[in-house]
Amino acid sequence: MSDHLDRIKAAVIGGRHGEIKALVQQALEAGADPSTLINDALIAAMDVVGTDFGAGRIFVPEMLVSAVTMKAGLDVVKPRLAAGESRSRGTVVMATVKGDLHDIGKNLVSMMLEGAGFKVMDLGVDLSVEKLVDQVRTIQPDILGLSALLTTTMPEMQKVIGELQRQGLRDRVKVLVGGAPVDPGFAEKIGADGYGANAAEAVALARRIVDAKG
C-alpha cells in the first residue's frame, strides 16, 4: 500500500496533474483507506511542496500545479470518506483586503487548508472592512485569514482588527495575516494572532489554533 501512497505523493510534488486521478483511483481499488490517502499522500505531499517553496527551491508556478494536482486527487477521494471522517477541522474565512485584487497567495492558502481538512469560505478580493466584519458575524469562523500583496493595502488589515474589536467580535475569531509586504513584526503591531510566510506555514498555524481550542 505504501507504494501507492508514495506514487501519489510523488505525482503531487512533481505536479503530474494528468496522472493523479488514475493513481488515486488505483490506490482506492487496492483498498487504501481514504483518510490515510488524504493525510499521508496528498497533504503530506503539499507539506513537502510548501517546504520547498519556503526554501526557494520551487516557485509559484510549480506550487500552483502541485495544488491543482492535489485538488484533483482530493476530488476523487472525498466521496469515499465516511461521514465522521469528512467532518471539517474548523472553518476559515479567507479574503484579500480592500483595494487589493491580488489573490494567488490567498488561493494557495485556501487550497492547502481545504486539503488539510478545513472548511474554507473564500470571500474573494477587495473586501471592505464592513463586509468582512459582517461575514465574520454571520459565518462565525474559527479563523479569519487576511491577505495583502501591496504595501498600499496592508494597513487595511489593522482596520479590520480594529472594527472586530469595536463590534465585540475579536475574541470569537483568530486573525491570521499574510502577503508579500507583511512580516511577523507588522502582524504583532496590528494585533493579529499569527503570520504565515507561505501557504505551508499558514496551514501549520491554523492547525495549531484549532488543536489548541480542542
Binding site: 509559484v60 508556478p61 489573490d103 494567488i104 501591496l150 504595501t151 498600499t152 508579500a180 507588522f186
Partner: protein, 336 residues
C-alpha cells in the same frame, strides 16, 4: 560637471563623474497623500489627466527635493490601452485590472493607434509638460510595463503562472512575444515625449517565479527590448532577487532598481561594474512605519555601499509620511 539634479542622475545612471552629492531618484511612484495635498491633485485624476500627473510628479522635486520626476503612478496604463477593464481606484486605492481580456490565451490584438489611447497619451503628454517645465534641470523618468507584467494583466496572474508551471511554453512565449512590441513602442514614445530615462518594470519577482523562469522566458526578450530602444533604461523587479542579479545585468539595461531585501553591498559587489543600482530604501517597515532617523540610517548605508541612485525600493504606500521621503534627500545632501 554642474551638479544640477539632472546631471547628478544621468552621471549616476552610467557610473560617471561624482557630483557634489549622491542623486535621489524615484524610478517608481512616490505619490502619497501628503504629496497630493501639496500638489492639490488626487487619484484617480492623476492617472487620467496629464496636467494633474505632471503637477504631482513636480511636487516630488519641488516639495520633497528628489532629483527626478516620474509621472506614472499606476501599472495598468498599457493594459487599459489594450482593452483590459481597469478600476482606476481613488485617493486611497491604486488602479488595478478587473477583468482579463486574454484569460484564454487568445491572440493579443494591439490597436494600431495604441499610443493614442487615452491611458498612454496621458503619460506622453505629462512627460512633455515636465520637459517644458524642468527639462535639462531635473531628470525626467518614464515608465513602461514589460511583457511579463502585461501578461499578468491580460491573462490574469494566476492563470499565466499556472501555464508557466504546466510547462506550456508555446502559449507563454507567444503571449510575451505579442506584447513585446507594445513595450518597445511605448518606451521609444516616452523618450520622444521628453523622458531622459525610462523604467522597464517587469515583475519576474522571486515572490512569484524562479531565476530559471526569468532565464528561459524573459531574458531573451529583455535583450531584444534593450537592443531596440533608444535611451537609458532602469529595470524594476521587486522582491528579493539576489538569486538573479547577474541575469538582470545580462539584459542590456543600464540600471537595476532593487529592494532592501537584496543587500546593497552585495548587489554593488556582484553587478555594480556592469549596471548602476537604484533604490534600496525599505517601504513597509522604514518609509511607512519608521522614523526619519531610520530612513536616514538606511539611506546612508546604501550610499556607503555604492548604490548610485538612492530612493524607495518600489512604489510607496499612499500613507507614507512626507517627512520620511525628505529624510532620504537630507541623507543624500550630507554628501558622499
Amino acid at each position: 560637471m554642474k551638479s544640477n539634479s539632472r546631471n547628478l542622475v544621468m552621471a549616476a545612471m552610467f557610473g560617471g563623474r561624482r557630483g557634489g552629492r549622491p542623486a535621489v531618484g524615484n524610478p517608481t511612484s512616490i505619490a502619497c497623500h501628503g504629496l497630493m495635498e501639496r500638489a492639490k491633485v488626487s487619484f484617480p485624476e492623476a492617472h487620467l489627466n496629464a496636467r494633474a500627473m505632471a503637477e504631482l510628479a513636480l511636487a516630488g522635486h519641488e516639495e520633497v527635493g528628489f532629483d527626478t520626476v516620474m509621472p506614472e503612478y499606476s501599472v495598468v496604463q498599457e493594459a487599459a490601452a489594450l482593452g483590459a477593464q481597469v478600476d482606476w481606484g481613488d485617493r486611497d486605492k491604486m488602479p488595478d485590472v478587473k477583468e482579463f481580456p486574454n484569460a484564454d490565451f487568445s491572440d493579443i490584438v494591439v490597436p494600431p493607434d495604441f499610443l493614442e489611447k487615452p491611458s498612454c497619451r496621458v503619460v506622453l503628454d505629462a512627460l512633455s509638460i515636465l520637459r517644458r517645465h524642468v527639462g535639462g534641470r531635473v531628470a525626467i523618468i518614464g515608465k513602461v510595463m514589460g511583457p511579463w507584467t502585461m501578461s499578468y494583466h491580460m491573462a490574469g496572474t494566476q492563470n499565466f503562472l499556472l501555464a508557466v508551471g504546466m510547462g506550456e511554453s508555446d502559449k507563454v512565449t507567444k503571449m510575451l512575444r505579442q506584447l513585446m512590441p507594445v513595450t518597445v513602442a511605448f518606451i521609444n514614445a516616452q523618450f520622444a515625449a521628453g523622458a531622459d530615462i525610462v523604467v522597464l518594470a517587469d515583475h519576474a519577482t522571486r515572490n512569484l517565479v524562479g531565476p530559471y523562469h526569468y532565464q528561459e522566458y524573459l531574458l531573451p526578450i529583455h535583450q531584444e527590448i534593450t537592443a531596440q530602444v533608444g535611451g537609458p533604461l532602469i529595470l524594476h523587479v521587486c522582491g528579493n532577487c539576489s538569486d538573479r542579479l547577474e541575469l538582470f545585468a545580462e539584459s542590456g539595461v543600464d540600471a537595476y532598481h532593487f529592494e532592501w531585501q537584496v543587500d546593497a553591498r552585495e548587489a554593488v559587489r556582484r553587478i555594480g561594474d556592469r549596471v548602476s543600482l537604484a533604490g534600496n530604501i525599505n517601504n513597509p517597515q522604514v518609509l511607512l512605519q519608521g522614523r526619519p532617523e531610520d530612513v536616514h540610517h538606511q539611506a546612508r548605508y546604501a550610499i556607503a555601499a555604492g548604490v548610485h541612485l538612492i530612493g524607495p525600493e518600489c512604489a510607496i504606500p499612499l500613507s507614507t509620511p512626507i517627512e520620511n521621503l525628505k529624510a532620504i534627500v537630507a541623507a543624500a545632501r550630507e554628501g558622499w
